[in-house]
């Protein structure tokens, strides 16, 4: 083993960690807000709203994330004159914003299903009891529905967070230099795929391991009585 090479690759690769984490966390945060909105639309009695949300989820869950990234970054370039006119071309010209948009829309589609599942799990009796206490509308949601739904949804959402950290690697295909992009660069310079894979893989495993621990801690805090879903990264939704 050439430790000098492993170490120098490590030093170059950790420069990509901030971008990886930044993209992952901003898309998860923005995606969660959108997911809540979508889940609310899917449960709405206004059917057109529900259809729009269901269509969105169907398209973004049914196609590869890489295709979505290319569609937004390369595809929308076809409409450059119009986007220029609307004054938003600066957004779609930037690989960073396009990647962020694609990741956000993608995780929102998966998140919407998780949030919807959480909302569905709220026992009807709890809502009835709250209504009997005179709660309604926003208070009912804030005090009763949201906390119960959140507890139910947390394990699945933890899964989604880890999948998103891995998914950020795809943005390297549109020139963003996060960990996988840097790994690709080092490999094409040195042709030492095994060593670079070893180091980059270890970085991802470390990040994901730390995230899994954090999620488990959050589960312990928010839902101690549910018992930690030990299989957080075991099963559940797998794909992007």
């Amino acid at each position: 083993m050439d430790f000098a090479f492993l170490y120098s690759s490590f030093l170059r690769l950790i420069a990509g960690i901030p971008l990886t984490l930044q993209l992952a966390f901003s898309s998860i945060g923005l995606g969660f807000c959108l997911a809540v909105l979508l889940a609310a639309m899917m449960r709405s009695r206004l059917l057109p709203l529900a259809w729009i949300a269901e269509g969105f989820v169907f398209v973004f869950r049914g196609t590869p994330l890489l295709v979505q990234i290319f569609l937004i970054y390369y595809g929308l370039g076809q409409f450059r004159p119009y986007l220029d006119e609307m004054g938003i071309w600066w957004f779609f010209r930037s690989p960073y914003y396009c990647a962020l948009l694609a990741l956000t829309l993608n995780t929102a589609a998966y998140g919407a299903e998780i949030v919807r599942g959480g909302l569905q799990s709220v026992p009807h009796g709890q809502i009835e009891a709250a209504r009997a206490f005179g709660m309604s509308g926003f208070t009912l949601y804030r005090r009763i529905v949201a906390p119960i739904a959140l507890r139910q949804a947390l394990p699945a959402y933890g899964n989604e967070i880890i999948l998103m950290i891995k998914a950020t690697s795809l943005v390297s295909t549109i020139t963003l230099m996060e960990v996988t992009g840097l790994a690709h660069k080092i490999i094409s310079e040195t042709f030492r795929a095994f060593e670079v894979f070893f180091v980059a893989g270890a970085i991802y495993l470390a990040i994901n391991f730390a995230m899994a621990r954090l999620i488990a801690l959050a589960e312990d805090r928010i839902a101690p009585d549910l018992g930690r879903a030990a299989a957080t990264i075991e099963m559940g939704k797998l794909s992007h």
Partner: protein
Amino acid sequence: MPPKSFLELMQWGPQGWLDEMTFATGLTLAVAVSGFLFGLAFGTIAAIGKLSRHAVFQRAADAYTTVFRGVPDLLVIYLFYFGGSAVVTAIAQKFGAQGFIGLPGFLVGTLAIGIVSGAYQAEVIRGAYLAVPPGEVDAARAFGMSGWRLLRRIIGPQVLRYGLPGMGNVWQLVLKESALVAVVGLSVYLYEIKLGDLVLIYETRFSDLLRQAHVAAGSTRQPFVFYITAVAFYLILTTASTWAFRRAETWATRGLRQA
């Protein structure tokens, strides 16, 4: 020359791209199917390791599933493409060849997808195996079945039945992951096959759906049209497979009492 309309672009034949896009969809499907089958093989081996009584096999299987579920798929594809090509190049240079020899994207993609999906498949198969009621295995043993016959008649069919929903999930994952081969995709490979005095020159063109969309987008300057078409083709594939797996589940559980 005015830009072509959508219908003009999507003609069948040399004028349009519909035939290319359709063949590329077939290739995507071929990559996914072979990757899935590889994954089934790797997953079965890993599941056997996880269920084994030997700590060494358990640890090896656990390490395999942890690593390949924790590392981005794209990184695995790079490992196989560059790592595999480096090995092949080194061997070829021993025999006097020169330059870098890139491995075919199909092979790389299939293997990488097989390894990654095998890590997910292992959990599905292990779970399904544990769901087989032990009483049925006891009963089969009482009938004198053992070894291969027990596996083929009792355990195998039930593992498939209980594992089917999980395998459906893995298949969806594989289908979407197959888009990543576009990154190491399109190349024209020339193979010379020598049969005595006869030299066959065999050319293969490898481009999956996403790669084909990329190529068409570049050549027509209408990227949105082709990427949105790729989206539509992927949706057809995923929707059709959701339907197929649901049918298969109904068929596989037809003898079970429903709760």
